[in-house]
């Protein structure tokens, strides 16, 4: 009988925190910049330099911990993880092993209508390393410490996931929580969110865990899904052929669609962790905790409930809009400027989604302002422009965030509300299309559509289609 296997997955997720300065010095965290320009004695590991914790890092880490239902460690510490590599200027990374800032959390995920909790083992703070640049031409390696000391949190889950879908649901959940908190932009493709997948398989029904591997270099949700499927199959093949899975770290090559072993447990390094004597204990007081709690923004799940109550828009729309903090922000800001929720939702659900697809953009990349969307909706409401002109204008809002009023004015797109001129045009169209008129009068109601279209064309789209319909019907009824 063929055996069935269960996949057991735990995740280690690194998130780059969006602070202005680095975790242990005052250098800028800004991306880019000439190599080694965002550096100082501390983040380049100069002899005698000392780290001092940036409070904003602690605040953001605690905020993430609270939002993921963790216990916050009230008396924490930083530890040194010792290993030699040139991207790490001190040859030790300041991280947390013994007393991580957050422990024992959980988040709820939903896959195909099924809800479940993924437990979080811990969240710890640590510093990022520099970047090595290998120059094959001169056969040298250069190191840029601009990233050295950029704050990270590592969120370690329990092995609670059983499929790629659950993994992606979990990552999406984390992404949304962290984005809503403003703690990070969480971009997988840009490296501000990185996930390592720990995976093992076992026979269905078994209580024991199999030997796991750790998969690195996963830069997109697609890559994660593919790597999980591939690793599951690889481990099944090994077990079915009577061999044993080796505990090791593997690197995923998404182009080639396979992974290869980087290092096994046998040559795993002894990091000689010990408490960093240069940093004082991290004391989280009641006051500090209360302050962070009071500053926690409304998170996605709360927003979904509120939108349903306040805006009476379809649940499907709510899901899409709240799936990005950026989108939800625009939605709420546009409503705050006076637009009707249903209309705002429509613009986001239909035109915005279409243009995002067309321009290959994520919701997080949206760059238009609520102000200009609100103005556009207002112009349609006031019949300054008609629906099809509005779509044309919105394209410009979407791409360049233009001011709709100015754009409409400059391009002469205003709806012609001069009834005399409209009637005159319609009379001309009616006179020029006797066949359609006859069809209409003989009961083919559809024929009026052609006449409306002809009129709109003649008016260069700047007529109100409703008005056209009304006047046309009046004339035809004569």
């Amino acid at each position: 009988m063929e055996k069935t296997y269960e996949t057991v997955i735990g995740l280690e997720v690194h998130v780059e925190l969006a602070t202005k300065t680095k975790i242990f010095c005052g250098c800028s965290t800004e991306f880019g910049g000439e190599p080694n320009t965002h550096t100082c004695p501390v983040c380049t590991g100069m002899p005698g330099s000392l780290p001092v914790l940036n409070k904003a890092v602690l605040e953001k880490a605690v905020a993430v911990g609270l939002a993921t239902n963790c216990n916050i460690t009230r008396n924490g510490k930083f530890d040194r993880k010792n290993y030699f590599y040139p991207d790490n200027p001190q040859n030790y990374q300041i991280s947390q092993l013994y007393f991580p800032i957050c422990r024992d959390g959980k988040v709820e995920i939903e896959v195909e209508g099924e809800k479940k909790f993924v437990r979080i083992h811990e969240i710890h703070m640590e510093e990022d390393a520099g970047k090595l640049v290998h120059d094959s031409f001169t056969d040298t390696s250069l190191v840029d410490y601009n990233r050295s000391g950029v704050p990270l949190i590592e969120i370690v889950s329990e092995p609670d996931m059983r499929s790629a879908e659950e993994v992606i649901a979990y990552l999406d959940k984390l992404r949304l929580i962290i984005q809503y908190l403003g703690a990070s932009d969480c971009k997988l493709n840009e490296g501000s969110m990185r996930a390592d997948v720990n995976l093992s398989i076992r026979e269905k029904g078994s209580e024991e865990f199999g030997t796991r591997t750790e998969m690195k270099n996963l830069n997109s949700f697609k890559a994660i899904a593919r790597a999980i499927e591939n690793e599951r199959e690889r481990q099944i093949d090994i077990i079915e052929s009577g061999e044993k899975v080796i505990q090791e770290t593997r690197r995923w090559d998404d182009e080639k669609g396979y992974s290869y072993a980087m290092r096994s447990k046998e040559d795993a390094q002894d990091y000689r962790y010990f408490p960093d004597p240069d940093l004082v204990p991290i004391i989280v007081t009641d006051e500090f905790l209360d302050e962070i709690k009071s500053r926690q923004p409304e998170l996605r799940d709360e927003k979904r409930i509120r939108y349903k109550e306040e805006y009476s828009i379809p649940e499907y729309d709510i899901d899409i809009i709240t799936n990005s903090k950026k989108m939800a922000d625009i939605f709420e800001e546009t409503i705050a400027l006076g637009a009707e929720p249903k209309k705002v939702s429509n613009w986001l659900m239909v035109e915005t989604m279409r243009l995002m697809k067309e321009h290959d953009k994520d919701a997080d990349d949206i760059s238009f302002s609520a102000k200009n969307l609100a103005k556009l909706i207002d112009m349609v409401d006031k019949k300054v422009i008609n629906g099809s002109v509005a779509k044309e204008v919105f394209e410009k809002v979407f791409t360049d965030d233009i001011e709709p009023e100015k754009y409409v004015e400059e391009n002469g797109l205003k709806t012609v509300n001069d009834e005399g001129a409209l009637t005159k045009t319609i009379e001309e169209i009616v006179a020029a299309n006797p066949k359609s008129v006859e069809d209409y009068k003989s009961g083919k109601e559809k024929a009026i559509g052609f006449l409306v279209g002809q009129t709109m064309k003649a008016m260069k789209g700047k007529a109100d289609p409703g008005e056209v319909n009304r006047i046309l019907k009046e004339i035809l009824a004569k």
């Binding site: 100069m46 005698g48 330099s49 780290p51 010792n82 040139p86 962790y273 004597p277 240069d278």
Partner: protein, 489 residues
Amino acid sequence: MDLMSLTAVELGQKIKNKEVTVKEAVEESLRRIDALEKDINSFVTVDKEGALKQAEEVQKKIDSGELTGPLAGVPVAIKDNMCTKGLLTTCSSKILGNFVPTYTATAVEKLKEAGAVIIGKTNMDEFAMGSTSETSYYGATKNPWDLNRVPGGSSGGSAAAVSSEEVPYALGSDTGGSIRQPASFCGVTGIKPTYGRVSRYGLIAYGSSLDQIGPIAKDVRDCATILEIICQHDDKDSTSYSEAASDFTSALVDDVKGMKIGIPSDYFAEGIDPEVKEAVLAAAKVLEEKGAVVEEFSLGMVDYAIPAYYIIASAEASSNLERFDGVKYGYRTADYTDLHNMYKKTRSEGFGAEVKRRIMLGSFVLSSGYYDAYYVKALKTKALIKKAFDDAFARYDVILGPVAPTTALKCGESLSDPIKMYLGDIYTVSVNLAGLPGISLPCGYDKNGLPIGLQLLGQTFDEKSILRAAYAYEQSRSYKRSPIAERGL
């Protein structure tokens, strides 16, 4: 006039009174260094040009009234493990043989702000690991009282430079006795302040949880004055402390009436030289005669201090010294095949034997499977030692004892037997483990004429009590110059 025979405060006063110019003081210091270095070797780097330039600038500021502090214009020597911008900083190691820092240590910066003129960088045991100043890559420093003897260490260069009157005062650092023991061996005075008193920013770390910068000078007043300048809180050092009183010179009153002084009987049990014992107990007698209440007590935990210290200090050192890898600064081996080979050769060639020994010891005690048995146990021991002192300080204002079991050792004696050298730290290391302040000052001379040191310990951040006791004791005797200083050039 012999300007370098003055205390730092006396010289500062003469400069202030325009009896002496800063240039004259600096030139006199340089002249003595020129003449004595071949015998003493207290300096790794002498910054002649820089010192003369500073002298000019400082003089202008004194003349304009911008600088009015007690040490304005007085030359100083800095231990070569404190970063000085633009000035070679080697830690007496080959691996930092070409290292010129891009910034200045906070304590040194404070001195510069107060108008100190930096003459140069003093020799030391490599990376402050040792108690003889013989492990320096740049040659051993000699004791100004007897050139065949060691000056103590690791701040041996600083102590010898003061004792030989090359400079009026110097900065040292103390991780397990490295200010107090050389001060004792060289017949001068030095303070290891409370951990957290002086910023460690820019001090190249040996044992981060134990390291502390402090002054070495001719007398207690100088030490108090220097400490007042360097002890300010620093945002760049998380472990620096801001809230304790620091008006140290106000404690310099010749009055110990009613002061409770405890003498740990455990310090006089075995291994102590009888002459040292006699001199230290005689000093206690002096304080008793001046009205202090002196009694013996059992401190406890004494036997555990050395193993705990060597485990903690070496563990921290093994990690602190990882950054010296040939990648970013300092020495890099000439030929290598790949990255790993470059690391290995650079560090094998760049570090001396004692440093390697401690890196290996430290790496071992932190390695998986041994961490709990050694490192965690040592931390628990450290906490118990602190508690033993806390209990003692519930009863006494000051604890009095020797600095070292012997006077200065003969050159070469310790290098062949590191354990013997480690045991010499028995009275000093527990003070670092407990984070306490300690002062070392001369209290007599042995039959060879070598100085004997008295150590006074206080509760954390109570430097004032030990300064008061030390000052009162000091009034009972006069400063004795080293033979080298006495001899003249």
